[in-house]
């Protein structure tokens, strides 16, 4: 297989079924550095499965996911030894869950949650770690005075921002996001969208974003993949796919959006 010399992550021919239910059918996907790719589709279309397979959390029945490391070496994500994959998730990669509680330690302080990722990378100087944690709390607009508070005293939107701080503190090159604004009320969602967009752009991070919200995809993503029953039915530039949808399913999705 040849891979574009600039490409960051590339998937070819991914297949995965859960019993008789196809979750991924011959899916290809590519991601370039600094780019945001949205995966959209209704519930059960396979978008979260695709995210989990791309990030190595779930093994496909066939197909390959290739990642290019900062030194330029290619890695078959599903052939990597588990420790190497875990190391990748601790350093080059980040994962933002829809439910921040899956990623945060609720019994550890906010600052501890952010600093922990740095300690996992071998940072040991307590003062520096605390400084970085406070800096990141500010970047995600959490009052630094809350650094020693437990996450369970935080609102849903604050928890999501704390999760983003925890994820980005190690400067990942690639972030996987599963419905990062899902379940938040709209005013919090808008602020979070702006935060994600500006951080991703400023830090030059590439991201794969799963969302069922086409407006979120439009505001954040350069490119979009539309999935239905495990198949990619349409892919391309976000505004092109949403303004000039060609596939019947994409036309249905776009025409079903409620106008506020």
């Amino acid at each position: 297989m040849t891979v574009d010399p600039d490409i960051l992550l590339s998937a070819r021919g991914l297949n995965l079924s859960f019993g008789a239910i196809p979750a991924l059918v011959n899916v290809d996907a590519d991601l370039w550095p600094g780019e945001m790719l949205a995966i959209v589709g209704e519930s059960g279309s396979g978008k979260t499965t695709l995210l989990n397979v791309l990030s190595g959390k779930l093994r496909p029945q066939s197909g390959v996911v290739t990642y290019r490391d900062p030194a330029g070496a290619l890695h078959d994500v599903h052939a990597m030894p588990q420790p190497a994959l875990r190391a990748l998730h601790r350093s080059d990669w980040g994962f933002v869950h829809q439910n921040p509680r899956e990623n945060l330690r609720m019994a550890v302080s906010a600052g501890g949650n952010v600093g922990e990722r740095l300690m996992a990378q071998g940072k040991r100087h307590y003062g520096h770690i605390r400084e970085a944690a406070i800096d990141w709390l500010q970047q995600v607009e959490i009052d630094p005075a809350r650094v020693d508070d437990l996450p369970r005293t935080f609102s849903g939107g604050m928890l999501q921002r704390l999760q983003i701080a925890r994820t980005l503190v190690t400067h990942p090159r690639l972030v996987f996001m599963d419905e990062p604004t899902g379940g938040l009320d709209v005013s919090v969602q808008a602020r979070l969208l702006d935060l994600i967009r500006s951080l991703v752009r400023r830090l030059g991070i590439a991201a794969v974003l799963v969302t069922h919200d086409l407006a979120v995809a439009r505001l954040l993503a350069d490119r979009i993949i539309v999935m239905q029953r495990g198949e990619v039915v349409e892919a391309g530039l976000t505004d092109q796919v949403l303004d000039d949808p060609a596939h019947p399913y994409t036309q249905l999705l776009v025409s079903s959006v409620l106008q506020a």
Binding site: A190, L193, R197, Q240, D243, D244, A246, H247, Q251
Partner: protein, 235 residues
């Protein structure tokens, strides 16, 4: 600089829409569009309502996919076919070469007017501090008072939103500008500002394609009209 060179050219451009939710109805909108725009030239798309002016403008931006033909764009010295370019290439061309002013402002909520405009300059790799100053100057020129700069434009009037959109479209000084009704909801004073801005863009060598329903604006800035005939629909 050679001012004669072609910045944008379409060859046999065709566009149709297939509406799958309406029983697969096919609408043929554009066929055989051959358009050429040179540096420093402004072309006004003309034709009756429904003839496909907006469709053509969107196709030129790569927002609508072409079904046939080529859309050649001069980007950093070379010609690229927007109709067959990879999405990444289209993104790069839009950042540095191809600007578009739409009729409606679509932005992340809660971001200030100033940041929205400055952000568009950031796409052209300008220093952030300069971008903020340039954005503020441009907003002032378009008569958006300073006390509105820090506010998100969601609550602004239609005319104010359009001027934010114009500032966002002009700040990048793109070599090619596509303008969809840039003065539609503006009063006479602001309309004159926009006419002056378009004239300045032409003077610096920008190639401009626009839809201008206002005959006064069209006469003031367009060098020629490109007539779009309604596509003869099969009976």
């Amino acid at each position: 600089m050679n001012n004669d060179h072609v910045m944008l050219r379409t060859e046999g451009l065709a566009k149709q829409f297939t509406l799958h939710l309406q029983g697969g109805v096919r609408l043929n909108v554009l066929d055989g569009v051959d358009l050429e725009v040179r540096a420093g030239e402004c072309i006004a798309l003309a034709g009756p309502s429904g003839a496909g002016k907006s469709t053509l403008l969107r196709a030129l931006y790569g927002n609508y996919r072409a079904d046939a033909g080529r859309i050649l764009v001069r980007h950093e010295g070379a010609l690229f076919d927007l109709a067959s370019a990879l999405p990444r290439t289209v993104v790069a061309i839009r950042k540095r070469t191809l600007g578009y002013v739409s009729q409606f402002l679509r932005v992340v909520p809660r971001v200030s007017a100033l940041d929205i405009v400055a952000d568009a300059a950031h796409d052209r790799a300008t220093a952030p501090a300069n971008a903020q100053a340039t954005a503020a100057a441009l907003l002032h020129r378009l008569n958006i008072p300073a006390n509105l700069h820090a506010l998100p434009p969601a609550t602004f009037s239609g005319g104010e939103q359009q001027r934010i959109n114009l500032a966002r479209g002009f700040i990048g000084a793109h070599p090619i500008l596509l303008l969809d009704e840039p003065t539609a909801s503006l009063d006479a004073a602001n309309r004159d500002v926009v006419i002056a801005m378009i004239a300045e863009a032409k003077a610096r060598g920008a190639a401009i394609v626009g839809i201008f329903h206002d005959a006064f604006v069209r006469d003031a800035i367009a060098d020629r009209l490109y007539q779009i005939a309604p596509y003869p629909q099969a009976a």
